[in-house]
Symmetry: C2
């Protein structure tokens, strides 16, 4: 691309470093900002800097938080005996939006992935094992994505905590509510038959 301005070129370069944003999209976004009032750009820049400099990680669950202890961990109405293990903050948001879970979370910060160079020491696994060792946690729910990396991570954690007296569970895999059976993949359909539940239980939801 031939830029008529170094300032424009630099802005496009920085924006295109973001994942999934190429040079063309970056140029479109940057030209959009130029057409908006100056305030729009100031607010955006301030919000990003404020985020990067002032955001905290909850010291109990490692979720993103404004305070040392996040709103969920500091909420006395939540059941601290049940802990749901998730990959990142987006999973917390997704589960919270269902309003079906009243326990606490533990955010690992990723999955074990040798290909990407992420080992157990790069994730918040040690603090999870410590939490379990203290004995206040009664049930651990694994809610990682069901990929090779997710399964590896689940198994690694399971091996670390199996010596403790604790119930472990994993979220149910099956056909999405509203989906047609014929379009489901065979692995999911197979699991949903193996892990079938009493019909009376399905009436609760």
């Amino acid at each position: 691309m031939d830029f008529s301005s170094k300032i424009l070129e630099n802005a496009v370069k920085e924006v295109s470093r973001l994942p999934g944003i190429g040079k063309r999209t970056a140029l479109r976004l940057v030209l959009h900002l130029l057409k908006q009032p100056v305030d729009a750009t100031s607010y955006l820049a301030e919000a990003l800097l404020n985020l990067r400099n002032n955001i905290k990680s909850c010291q109990n669950c490692h979720n993103i938080s404004d305070t040392l202890l996040c709103d969920i961990c500091s909420n006395s109405k939540r059941n601290s005996a049940i802990v749901c293990v998730v990959e990142d903050v987006r999973d917390v948001m997704a589960i919270e939006s269902t309003s079906q879970f009243k326990g606490l979370y533990h955010v690992l910060g990723g999955k074990i992935s040798p290909i990407e160079g992420i080992g157990p020491q790069n994730l918040h696994i040690e603090s999870l094992v410590e939490k379990v060792a203290q004995g206040t946690v009664k049930e651990l729910i694994f809610a990682l994505s069901s990929t090779m990396e997710g399964d590896t991570t689940n198994f690694y954690i399971y091996k670390q905590i199996e010596k403790f007296e604790i119930t472990t569970s994993t979220i149910a895999r099956g056909i999405s509510v509203g989906d047609e059976l014929e379009y489901a993949d065979e692995v999911t359909l197979g699991r949903s038959i193996l892990n079938r539940i009493p019909f009376s239980d399905s009436l609760r939801n």
Copy 2:
């Protein structure tokens, strides 16, 4: 979306104001920044603020520029007698990348669009007519997109300048180089037959 942090929510809100970026994408981008070194966010914020506060519009062609007169207008090797009328800076970049045009540009800053409330007074049309009235411009090339708005804008400008002795032209419409005829739309194919050129001319390119 249930955000665990106001700072995060605010950053996502500001990023999702950008065109074509929804809340989910904004969250993904923002979480990416959190995983990068602090510098990455500082550079991005600085580049955007620098762009918004220090960028200039070339006083001759209205192209985005770091200086009062852009590199193209201040280049004495370019032919100032031929002016190519374009919509915005992206069109200048596209034409420049062909290396086929050695004249100057005139960036309108948009197209006449009553639906979007953009009239001739919102575009750099007056300065173009003044430029033509001064008599130094010999040819005006219309290179707007061939939409209703583009055609309207072309026609409006044409009406303003037809009293002057000046050649006007429009870029050729036709089948893209390398495209199959059978997949071309009929309007384009029709025009490419009406506006056929001598075969010997086609050998120049």
